[in-house]
Amino acid sequence: MQVLFLALGATRRRAVVEETAQVVADGGRAVVLVAAAKPWSRERFHPEVQVVDLSKLEAHGPIRKVERALLFSGPGLVFRALGRGPMKTFARRAGGAYERRIASPVHRALLPRNGEDPAELQQRLIRRQVLAGRPPFDLFVVSDPASMPPAARLLARPAGSDSPAPRVAYRYDYAGSGGPVPRQPAVPALPSSASAAAKESR
């Protein structure tokens, strides 16, 4: 069984690590899609589990590479060159301030100018670089809240589509078995904090 774990929020790391190992133990293949590698740095996946870092996929496009070089890598070199000897502390602080106040806001501002919704871009990356070119996944395991919107987009199927959709589960252990699960009637969106009654914060 080919199983894709969507773990973009990295909030249930232990469950993902253990369940992917279980997929391998069951003779299947597990791919874990993470938003960035850093939150997972202390986790140890089974060697046969493939971990795909979405942030690296995003950085691999030609426009992103140029943008990264101009905004981050190039200025970073300049600050490091300046930061020798007595200027070290000043250059380090100035470099940090530059990234916070200039490079990152410009990076964010450039995203819409690429003409694409970030969510659409993310979905296209996943389709092209994770889903394409490999056997279809039998099961999507949606592992945290942040993974729900991309999972719903990936599973939204155009009318008339006849290819089998993967099954969906929130835990590998609870995926059940058998073929694709028929859709239930549409249900209303769940309430967000706006409609839930209580507003207190801890």
Partner: protein, 415 residues
């Protein structure tokens, strides 16, 4: 045409063991394992809180997407006792209070059910908020609803007027409301005196089926099972162990559980010079913890507060003596067999009370400790059959007898 199940029960719970949280809600799983065999159909709805840092915008997107996904992720999987489990994650932005959490559990369960009510004539929820609230919001109008409260943090739950009003509504709608001990019942009576006659007791079931191969002969291998958190007093336990081990170098201590104190306990064990005698296993599945109980000599439980104290009864079931604090639950659950089961000590912020309790217990062990008697008495109160009968009696008081069900004559409720 298939016959409609006669003894059909839905369990609604926010706590149920999972791979990453193997202890959480083990008592709910035990209740399902005890009661399901006497029913025609039992379905467990586990609403698992998935807490994450979410902005209002993200929260909205997650809610919309989750509603779509719930229609796809509909699998039910077998769980204990022949029951079926439907797993329903409940996304919750970090920092929300109990009232909102309960609203979200109710709404998410409703979405998972496709907007239809829970298809069962009996609904038993665990924990007033959020479980009871999710149950009363999603049960059929004609369903009989029961709630068992276990929470050790009722003061926090009832801290806001809205949560208190919601809890009051749960109490009003429920056909039966149970506390697992006086430590739970007392704050409920204080908060809702008008429901005093409706809040009674029910016990958590404990598995007495497996006994240890060899009886305990010496109190050398200490065991602790539970969270490694301040409330459990496990830091004082380690200090006491070091003192006792200075007198008897053959003593060992196994800490089963996980928590914020894990690292500090390792460091402190090294400072005390007992690192080689202390083993931390991390969190283990309940079955594995029970196996360890049969391989150790003494359960030491120094908790500051327990509503029931499942591990204490589990230890007695495993044939091991207990050294346990009078922290709410244990003095009730062990009532009448305290000296047979082991030694009770007061809750104090010093390891000396544990050391003194251990010395007293060791001095009268085994001659003045009757573990067989304690085990027999406790089995009559808390074994699976006893607690199952109590549940079946309240659930199916008016139902016709089903082929697989036992006669329901022995209530396990305590007075």
């Amino acid at each position: 045409m298939a016959a409609t199940p006669v003894k059909d029960v839905a369990i609604v719970t926010p706590w149920y063991p999972t791979r990453d949280m193997p202890f959480r809600g083990a008592f709910v799983q035990a209740m399902v394992g005890a009661t399901a065999p006497g029913c025609d159909r039992v379905t467990v709805y586990h609403g698992d809180a998935w807490v994450a840092a979410l902005s209002d915008r993200d929260d909205e997107l997650v809610g919309r997407a989750h509603a779509e996904l719930l229609g796809l992720a509909t699998a039910r999987t077998p769980t204990v006792g022949g029951a079926q489990l439907r797993y329903v994650p409940v996304p919750i932005p970090r920092g929300r209070w109990h009232a909102e959490i309960a609203h979200r559990h109710a709404a998410t369960l409703g979405a998972a059910l496709g907007g239809k009510p829970i298809d069962a004539p009996v609904v038993h929820a665990h924990v007033g908020l959020p479980g009871g609230w999710a149950a009363i919001r999603n049960a059929r109008p004609d369903a009989r609803i029961f709630v068992t409260e276990h929470a050790t943090f009722l003061d926090q739950v009832l801290d806001t007027p809205e949560a208190r009003a919601m809890y009051d509504e749960v109490l009003h709608r429920a056909d039966g409301f149970f506390a697992v001990g006086e430590a739970v019942r007392a704050p409920l009576l204080e908060a809702f005196p008008h429901h005093a006659d409706r809040i009674t007791f029910i016990a958590n079931p404990i598995d007495f089926d497996v006994s240890r191969p060899e009886p305990v002969t010496d109190l050398r291998r200490w065991l602790y099972v539970g969270g490694l958190i301040p409330r459990k007093g496990v830091d004082l336990l380690l200090e006491a162990f070091a003192t006792c081990r200075a007198e008897d170098p053959t003593l060992t201590l196994t800490l089963v559980g996980a928590g914020e104190l894990a690292g500090k306990l390792s460091e402190r064990a090294a400072e005390l010079g007992v690192a080689e005698a202390v083993t931390q296993t991390g969190a283990l599945p309940p079955d594995e913890a029970l196996r360890l109980m049969r391989e150790h000599d003494l359960l030491v439980h120094n908790s500051r507060f327990e509503t029931f104290g499942v591990t204490v009864i589990e230890a007695a079931a495993a044939g091991m003596p207990v050294l346990v604090t009078r922290c709410g639950g244990p003095e009730e659950t062990l009532a009448g067999v305290e000296e047979s089961a082991g030694e009770l000590i007061d809750v104090e912020d010093t390891p000396d009370v544990i050391v003194a309790g251990y010395r007293r217990l060791r001095s009268r062990f085994p001659q003045q400790v009757d573990l067989s008697l304690a085990r027999r008495e406790l089995a009559a109160r808390y074994s699976y059959p006893s607690v199952a009968q109590a549940h079946h009696r309240i659930w199916f008081a008016d139902a016709p007898a089903a082929g697989t069900s036992d006669a329901l004559s022995v209530p396990a409720q305590r007075s």
